[in-house]
């Protein structure tokens, strides 16, 4: 933690970055995001197991971008997100620097290739708990699955907190906000909720980097990560591609490769 604060102080003092985005203690035992813009403020930074939020989401906000170059305290999923955003032409390499706190100090990654190397070496698999949840879900029959989600979605409030939390929901105009025509109905009724949630999941297929922030953000506790992870594992098995592994990558769902197996088409 001290190493992190030290690093932040140094980066700001030398004007290497204009802001360090990290964590500070929040309410209810959770951590919140902290934007450190003065070296003197660096002492407020913390890093522990409560620091879960994927701070890469802030990189997409215009008001954050306007602050200048950012150093971002990054968890494993944060790094994957940075690479995915880069692959989608949303990040300039020079605009950021990732700070990875570890047992022996803080690693500072300033290039995409450094981040790629770090990501390739880290464990990107689901946790054992996540895996068993996913297996339980995958084992359900189709009818059972539909019932499960219908029940879950019936509680959705259409507050769009999941979307606000998701670093990959960076569109300045979301499909739900298109009203000419209004493909996805606005009210939080069953059909509208189903359409919204299916659309959200499909738009993340082959893109979601499994940070889990959508589920944590949902005020009514819908396990959204299950949908995303199922799609991720399907994309991995069908196209042999994991999102967030490279800063230059073709989108698995929109790219035709002559050596694609295409077994489901032929």
């Amino acid at each position: 933690m001290n190493a992190l604060r030290e690093k932040a102080r140094e980066l700001l003092a030398t004007k290497t970055v204009q802001v360090v985005i990290g964590y500070a203690p929040g309410s209810g035992g959770a951590a919140r995001a902290l934007f450190v813009r003065e070296a003197a403020q660096a002492g407020e930074l913390v890093f522990d197991e409560t620091c879960l939020q994927n701070l890469a989401a802030y990189l997409m906000k215009p008001e954050v971008r306007r602050l200048g170059r950012a150093a971002l305290v990054a968890r494993p999923a944060t790094l994957r997100t940075i690479l995915q955003l880069a692959a989608e032409n949303q990040l300039a390499e020079s605009s950021l620097l990732a700070l990875v706190p570890g047992a022996d100090g803080v690693l500072s990654l300033s290039t995409f290739s450094a981040i790629e190397a770090h990501v390739a070496a880290q464990d990107n698999d689901l946790s054992a708990a996540e895996k068993s949840e996913l297996e339980k879900f995958a084992a359900m029959g189709l009818d059972e699955r539909r019932e499960f989600w219908q029940e879950q979605f019936s509680r959705c409030l259409k507050c769009y907190a999941c979307r606000a939390a998701c670093p990959l929901c960076y569109c300045t105009r979301c499909t739900v906000e298109c009203n000419q025509p209004q493909w996805i109905p606005v009210p939080a009724h069953d059909l509208g909720n189903l359409e919204w949630n299916v659309m959200r999941a499909m738009h993340l297929a082959g893109r979601c980097t499994n940070c889990g922030d959508c589920s944590r953000a949902c005020p009514v506790g819908i396990p959204l990560y299950l949908l995303n992870q199922k799609l991720c594992s399907d994309v991995l098995s069908s196209f042999n591609q994991r999102s967030g592994m490279a800063a230059r990558a073709d989108h698995s769902l929109s790219t035709f490769k002559p050596d694609d197996p295409e077994d489901f088409i032929r």
């Binding site: 032409n89 105009r173 298109c178 738009h203 035709f256």
Partner: protein, 671 residues
């Protein structure tokens, strides 16, 4: 306020026999916004079109729905009629109540209901239609012909004679293709070289034709009228401008024991070679794989001998970039080789050969100078068994189709054998004789009746060696499947005609489709046999399906006519049914977020990056843009865009949404 006219066609009885057209007209009249609704027996007839035109003028219609057949059939007809009255043609839509309704359902209320629903949908759509203007694209009047067999040669000459420039790309050192390997040709038995060579020379000398032999297509980008091709000219190891084709090098080359491709492996050639004496261009190439210098670093004899110092050992492949407006693909076919027929001993016994090898044996320029001598010991064979359908029409071997040329060339082979070996005994094993074609049946009859070729209907099961003879085991199915055994000196397999080995790769470079057997697909099996599904790319010859020479030539001339028609105007008019990416006034500029997922999704490489800059030149954002010349309006990008920033003109989100709602809300609306 919309004033829509609905015109319901009986299509004779095609529609009215199952759909109650009067009821449809009455229902259409009740749809809000419909100002006029009539039915008529033949809407596409002159009086039918007049009904449409009169109504547009008299009732001031703002949109037209013709409920009739498929838009593929008559959309152009009715759009033209609308345009004649001054109504923008893209304000006219077809409601397909024939293919989508009357033809596929029984007569009844439900069928009429469905027809009404279809009309309702299109009325909802047409209310949202916008006037569109056709797109004009310039045409580069240069054609690229890929493949210099007889088909490619014919297409090149026809296009060149129509006054347009042609770039002909041939993979091998010489043009000519398979026809140059043939001895004599059915059904007239004229010498193949004698009729082909003059055309090859004409290609070489034609002022409008640029020939790149020993070259291959590297890539093709662009679209009809505006393609960019990159051609790889493989290193001949020779300065073509200096070489006079004297042939001294090929005579002196010490590396001479290489099985020659032109003689189908039956003759030998040196490492520096011209494939055959009449080759065009008549310039050698060094086969670097076999050349002693490239293998050991020593020799360079040809370099010393060449009187014009034309040899270039260090030559590299060269990439040439050309702009062309149309492409004719004429890359031909191949025949099955190798261990495909273990039961026939093909590839195992030297005297089991394929049809092309027999052509070389029978050819005056071949390795035996036209005498039929078998490869193993040079003996003149006393008995020859010809096997038709070797691999063809054999689902077990994965080739269900008929290779089409084998029946005819097998009859030719048996005949040539009899003409050259008077006492010889030719047998032909066949499944059926397919001799459809002018003078073809007569030709086969001649083989049987005048030349005494023994035709046996049946498949052979096995060929094996016994005491220096090839034993052919089969059955005569016309004689109650009586087993037969023939002791032959030579067996000739008419192996299946198959696609070129590189066909799939080439198709992917060209973005044209191909069938399960890797033959290129025509756009329509009957009505568009020389077009591909990619506009501006045409097919000629055996690359599309096995064909004989007359058919290949006919198709080549057909393709050339299409190219000439395309080149007859300097601008091409295209329907504006293409994608556009949202643009808005500042500060938004576009709802596109520049993720460019659409870019990789587009199968036609139509999506580009556009930088939006402020007055001071500062980059504001990078967003997608659709190149109107390239876009085919397939809609793939639309489905991908999360921000719904892309619309297909004529099939916009609003239009499609209106159609869906018209169906969903039908109960409420009519109530």
């Amino acid at each position: 306020m919309a004033r829509i006219g609905v015109f319901i066609c009986h299509c004779g009885e095609n529609i009215s026999a199952t759909v109650d057209v009067k009821q449809v007209a009455a229902a259409a009249a009740r749809i809000p916004g419909v100002a006029h609704s009539v039915e008529y027996k033949y809407m596409c007839s002159d009086p039918g079109q007049q009904l449409v035109k009169d109504a547009i003028r008299e009732k001031g219609l703002t949109g037209v729905v013709v409920a009739a057949c498929s838009p593929r059939m008559h959309e152009p007809t009715f759009r033209r009629a609308c345009a004649e009255t001054g109504l923008n043609p893209f304000l006219c839509e077809m409601a397909n109540i024939r293919e989508h309704c009357s033809w596929v359902h029984e007569k009844g209320d439900a069928t009429t209901e469905k027809a009404i629903d279809i009309v309702r949908t299109l009325v909802a759509k047409v209310k949202k239609n916008k006037a569109l203007q056709p797109i004009q694209v310039p045409v580069t009047k240069v054609a690229l012909v890929i493949g210099g067999g007889i088909a490619g040669i014919q297409a090149s000459l026809d296009i060149a004679n129509a006054g347009h420039r042609v770039i002909l790309v041939e993979r091998e050192p010489s043009i000519g293709g398979h026809m140059s390997q043939l001895s004599e040709t059915f059904p007239t038995l004229d010498c193949s070289q004698c009729i082909l060579t003059p055309r090859m020379v004409e290609v070489a000398q034609h002022p409008n034709i640029t020939l790149y032999s020993y070259a291959e297509l590297e890539s093709l980008d662009g679209f009809i009228g505006n393609f960019k091709a990159r051609i790889r000219r493989k290193a001949r190891s020779l300065d073509e401008t200096l070489c006079t084709g004297c042939g001294l090098c090929t005579q002196k080359c010490p590396t001479r024991k290489i099985p020659g491709e032109f003689d189908a492996g039956l003759g030998l050639r040196p490492a520096i070679y011209v494939p055959f004496p009449q080759a065009v261009p008549n310039k050698p190439v060094i086969d670097r794989e076999h050349c002693t210098y490239y293998r050991t670093g020593k020799c360079r004899l040809c370099e010393k001998i060449c009187p014009t110092q034309a040899i270039r050992f260090d030559q590299l492949d060269e990439i040439v970039e050309v702009e062309v407006g149309a492409v004719v693909v004429a890359t031909g076919f191949d025949i099955k080789h190798g261990d495909f027929f273990p039961e026939y001993g093909y590839g195992k016994y030297p005297d089991v050969i394929d049809g092309l090898q027999f052509e070389r044996l029978a050819s005056a320029s071949g390795p035996t100078l036209g005498e039929i001598r078998r490869p193993s010991d040079g003996k003149v064979p006393e008995t020859v068994v010809f096997v038709a359908c070797a691999g063809s029409r054999d689902p077990a071997k994965g080739i269900e189709y008929c290779s089409k040329i084998c029946c005819m060339y097998t009859a030719k082979h048996a005949m040539l054998y009899r003409h050259k070996v008077h006492g010889g005994k030719p047998y032909v094993f066949y499944m059926d004789i397919r001799a459809g074609g002018k003078m073809y049946e007569e030709f086969v009859r001649r083989a049987m009746e005048e030349d005494g070729v023994q035709y046996v209907r049946g498949r052979i099961s096995r060929v094996f060696e016994r005491d220096g003879k090839l034993v052919v085991k089969g059955a005569d199915t016309l004689l109650g499947a009586r087993p037969m055994e023939i002791e032959a000196d030579l067996v000739v397999l008419a192996t299946a005609a198959v696609a070129q080995p590189g066909a799939e790769e080439l198709a992917q470079k060209l973005h044209v489709s191909y069938d399960a057997h890797r033959f290129f697909s025509e756009a329509h099996p009957k009505l568009r046999p020389v077009e591909t599904n990619t506009a501006g790319i045409f097919l000629a010859g055996a690359c599309q399906a096995p064909k004989d020479i007359p058919e290949s030539v006919a198709q080549a001339s057909g393709a050339a006519a299409k190219v000439a028609a395309l080149f007859s105007r300097s601008e091409l008019v295209r329907e504006p049914l293409i994608a556009v990416v949202d643009r808005q006034p500042p500060p938004v500029y576009s709802s596109c977020v520049g993720c460019f997922l659409c870019q990789s999704a587009c199968p036609y490489q139509a999506i580009e990056k556009e930088e939006i800059r402020g007055r001071d030149g500062q980059l504001i954002k990078t967003v997608a843009r659709v190149n109107p010349g390239l876009c085919q309006g397939c809609g793939t990008c639309v489905a991908f865009c999360r921000t719904k920033s892309i619309d297909i003109q004529g099939f916009s989100h609003e239009q499609v949404h209106a159609e869906v709602l018209a169906l969903l809300n039908r109960g409420e609306r009519d109530a």
